[in-house]
Symmetry: C2
Subunit: 451 residues, 2 copies
Amino acid sequence: MTVKTILPEDKLPTRWYNIAPDMPEGSLKPPLNPATGEPVGPEALTPIFPMSLIMQEVSTERFIDIPEEVREIYKLWRPSPLFRARRLEKALDTPARIYYKYEGGSPAGSHKPNTAVPQAYYNREAGIKRIATETGAGQWGCSMALATQLFGMECTVYMVKVSYEQKPYRRSMMEVWGAEVLASPTDRTNSGRQILAETPDSLGSLGIAISEASEDAATHDDTNYSLGSVLNHVLLHQTVVGEEAVQQMEMNDVYPDIIIGCIGGGSNYAGLAFPFMRERLAGNRNTEFLAAEPTSCPTVTKGKYTYDFGDTLCSTPLLMMHTLGHDFMPPGIHAGGLRYHAMAPLISALVDAGHMNAVAYGQTEVFDAAVQFARNEGIVPAPESSHAIKAAIDKALEYKEAGEEKVILFNLSGHGHFDMSAYDQYLGGSLIDYAYPEEKIKESMAKLPKM
Amino acid sequence: MTVKTILPEDKLPTRWYNIAPDMPEGSLKPPLNPATGEPVGPEALTPIFPMSLIMQEVSTERFIDIPEEVREIYKLWRPSPLFRARRLEKALDTPARIYYKYEGGSPAGSHKPNTAVPQAYYNREAGIKRIATETGAGQWGCSMALATQLFGMECTVYMVKVSYEQKPYRRSMMEVWGAEVLASPTDRTNSGRQILAETPDSLGSLGIAISEASEDAATHDDTNYSLGSVLNHVLLHQTVVGEEAVQQMEMNDVYPDIIIGCIGGGSNYAGLAFPFMRERLAGNRNTEFLAAEPTSCPTVTKGKYTYDFGDTLCSTPLLMMHTLGHDFMPPGIHAGGLRYHAMAPLISALVDAGHMNAVAYGQTEVFDAAVQFARNEGIVPAPESSHAIKAAIDKALEYKEAGEEKVILFNLSGHGHFDMSAYDQYLGGSLIDYAYPEEKIKESMAKLPKM
């Protein structure tokens, strides 16, 4: 009985899939300069990104070659396995077949290195010596620390101070991979010093850390900035996941009826979904696409599809996306990777065009699903990925009710080895199920830029 | 360029290899009853083990079929990948080729589930409802919690109290998999109550936890006891690792010149080594076998090959093995899995017969090797496994010096995701390099049973 499908190493994809040219006509809106309301050109991003990545951001080529050096590093954990969750199917007594792609086998424990590695590569090719980036819980910081180390570059990670203090193990991991990790706000940047002058005991925030890292990059010639989700080129790199999954589903002689993933900025879900979405957009398949997000940060299910800033301090171009407002601060759920106020423009446009749907879940029901999964399939999932598990279980039960033998495919984007304190709270009955932050969302939505 | 070699799922071994019938004549000595000095028969073990495992313990069959239900669960993480450490080779500038088998991809993060799963299976087949076992740092307890959960059994883990308090995450993981975890000494057993009466604030020890778990098993009809290393049947189950590696090395058209692993009780190293040792014992190959242990618990390099008790409280039969004395208490090194006073009888006999060698390393040089490995190969290794890495690096440099293009194969038995505080100490310069505990070893060796 087949439990997992392994692609041979020589079937590791040679190209990423760029969905931009296949998007419904007129669905992609350009980034705008907030001062002029005019589209921004690629040159506006050169102080912090290398031209090769900027060109990928705006590319209209359907496929982009993966550099050989990047593929060699991918092989440290790729191709990743595709599992059939036979034990979970049996526990649910569902006629549905549940497949999942597992990205937790990377050294950093998630899908994030799929883009950290090429980002480091293109920066090194451009002569950049150091990457400055931010991290909240530490997943992205770890991935960039690993990637820069593998290319002999330096890495400075601005880590939100409260996480720096509460999550020392992710910090240690970044340091094992040679990164310098700073508790943000720091006194190294104008942004940091400004915050510290106003609030000396500031615990930091992702918005502040982004400001510090991008300022660091903009003010040092040998340093660039790097982002772990949201942008087109980040989603592009993640399509290696879906390109593998397409082959692995073929090896099983099945095609998914529904493709599920969790969304924070959108990159892990886009990575799995886009190579299958290609067939839907071409009119060849009618596959359903379902993204799962937290009720306490319901970007797609409750947000507005409009132009907004990517960061809290309004320093980015305006992007057309689902947003709760750039200064929305969600409750402190354990799925830290899903606490972003907005959604990748490519995902947002697909939702707006009716090709994708979203569903939102509360924290406790997500951990119920996580523990049920761990007890059947073994793997202890990350809280973020557990949103996808919850959606997959719900769908499997729905298909059971309807007696449908449908095929589910979801992305298990990472393991939960650094989230055991959250499981501890869940098992001890002290997990908080935050109420839907209706008032806070209203307030932040009121501050959306007027278009 | 090949980075890793994946066995197809249908090449997962169908049989474990039992080295007993191939051992040098007269090298295997029977367990003795400490009261009579006479060999103990299988029946002595029936209060705590099922007959199927006892028969494996004394089997003279060369191969033992892996039950289909066990193979189905193995497939959740097996076959495990074989990597070629090309980046490390390059960093060392060695002509040697370094291969490693990676067992950290199991849900529990180490090789331990390879035996926990069949042990749970055979107990369930025998009508046993619950397994009682002990754990120190938590690796074994996690593996048995997972295995019993997958077979619908209960699990009680007696966890050394100091670890229970210092390592809450391993405890949470066991609970996620449905186990009851108790801080040992408990007031549930006579052994525990006796200790608590004498020392109310006892921090516990592995010896005490073993006594509690085996008493629990002996005093409950529906409950058996389970051990994670040392015994023949445990090493037998681990040979699935080596049987895979034999096939994977063939796929690379190479045969190892040296096979390396870390040793605590001996099971991960035996698992990789025995299927290759089979060829050496048959006179077909002259492969070198090298086991790595800590200088602070130098069982093989400094111990005596003699009969001794397996536990501190002298409740087991006497086993012929390398030992530092049953009440030797090693310093608190981070490689908790290597802190056992003795060595598996099968490994000990092979060392005694000149088929294996051992080497000992200090804690800091082991972490030097671990960090060098992580920075080149990505994976952050467990402190235990890092002893094998250190030995592999030393050998690769020795071959460089001699200009020899030899092939190294080692077992990377687990990841270090739950050992980041140790890395933190290493990077912060506060890691303790314990002196060789010469006086303590002298004292404990003086208490060896007189034979």
